[in-house]
């Protein structure tokens, strides 16, 4: 009984997290309204740039601001960096959703799908969306530099998912060329 309750609680929490991040992205109204080619361009930049995540969540800049000895500057820095970190979380979450939509389309047309690979990818996707949800909450409560490792892990996951989609798309393209009916 306790196990079932725990499972349900985790499921509800996960759902709320996903909903929260999704709403966050929509409330900005920025990424969703962009044309497809810009989103494509954007997610290539974000997904393949772990350096960006490292820089946003790095404690280095905070140390530098602390060294100025100005509490007011430190407060302004906190607000500024929190805003950028939230933007990164929303963008990553939104872009990975776009990647998975593209992946689903490619997968439907693919003839030799690997079930284990697809399941792994799906779990990675759920994991990433959950981490984005957690990051969206904790960035508001804590200083972004505390979440450096979690953000780096999210960045790595998003890279892996983006890469998997790219591989599948390449394989599907190759299969089209090799098929006897292809022009």
């Amino acid at each position: 009984m306790i196990g079932v309750s725990l499972f349900l609680a985790v499921a509800v929490l996960l759902f709320l997290l996903l909903f929260f991040v999704g709403r966050g992205a929509e409330s900005t109204g920025e990424l969703i309204s962009r044309p497809d080619d810009q989103i494509r361009h954007g997610y290539q930049d974000t997904l393949y740039s772990p350096e960006l995540a490292r820089r946003i969540f790095s404690p280095e800049d905070r140390k530098f601001i602390s060294s100025t000895g100005s509490p007011q500057l430190l407060r302004i820095y906190g607000e500024e960096r929190r805003g950028v970190a939230l933007h990164w979380v929303r963008q990553t979450s939104n872009e990975i959703r776009t990647v998975m939509r593209e992946h689903a389309l490619t997968a439907r047309q693919s003839e030799n799908l690997e079930v284990t690979g697809e399941a792994k990818l799906f779990f990675q996707y759920i994991e990433l969306r959950s981490i984005c949800g957690l990051l969206a909450i904790f960035v508001r409560l804590l200083s972004p530099h505390v979440l450096c490792d979690l953000a780096a892990y999210a960045s790595k996951l998003s890279y892996q998912i983006g890469r998997a989609q790219q591989d599948l798309a390449n394989a599907a393209q190759l299969a089209t060329f090799r098929s006897p009916g292809a022009p």
Binding site: E30, L31, Q38, H41, G42, D45, T46, S49, E51, L52, R55, I56, S58, E60, D61, F64, I65, T68, S70, L73, I76, Y77, E80, R81, G83, V84, H87, W88, Q91
Partner: protein, 177 residues
């Protein structure tokens, strides 16, 4: 044939007789040329960013560089400028705040304007927004804008703590004054 003219903004008449073979250089060559002959002469990435943004038409977003267009195909020259602009921007956007403060300080000195006036103009008008290339990652843009705002505040703080500090002391007299 390699370009022999300097590309530092001096308009060079276009040689109509130049053969296609002479202009058969790729975008990569144009890019290398831009780095070597023009950008290497500008100190600091922030200065390079502002310079590259100034080669872009505000209305159309297309780049134009007289010197490069003489030696390379128009499309190659535009691509080289666009690539260089994006590269410099990405480098600046992911640089540390400390590095950006140094870049900004260097740029203030290079501009030969009074630091106080410079800080005020940059904080109010935010001219650095124009220096952002098109179609770059929006988070990168947010990070860059936020870091420039912070760098300006750091410089202002330093200025208030030490009015005769490096920015003011090393400032060269402006020719218009």
């Amino acid at each position: 044939m390699r370009p022999s003219s300097q590309h530092s903004g001096v308009p060079v008449p276009r040689e109509d007789g130049m053969s296609n073979a002479a202009k058969r250089v790729t975008m990569h060559d144009a890019y290398e040329d831009l780095l070597r002959r023009t950008l290497s002469k500008i100190s600091g990435d922030l200065g390079r960013l502002i310079y590259l943004a100034s080669t872009r038409d505000y209305n159309t977003g297309t780049y134009h560089h007289e010197g490069l267009c003489v030696c390379y195909r128009g499309e190659d020259a535009r691509m080289a400028l666009r690539t260089a602009h994006r590269d410099v921007f990405c480098r600046l956007a992911v640089s540390s705040l400390e590095e950006l403060v140094e870049q900004l300080e260097m740029y203030v000195q290079m501009s030969q304007e009074a630091p106080e006036e410079f800080h005020q103009a940059w904080e109010e008008l935010e001219p650095y927004r124009i220096a952002i290339p098109m179609q770059v990652n929006s988070t990168m843009v947010q990070l860059f804008l936020s870091n420039v705002r912070l760098a300006l505040k750091v410089l202002r703080l330093r200025q208030s703590q030490n009015p005769a500090g490096p920015s003011a002391a090393s400032q060269l007299p402006s020719p218009v004054r």
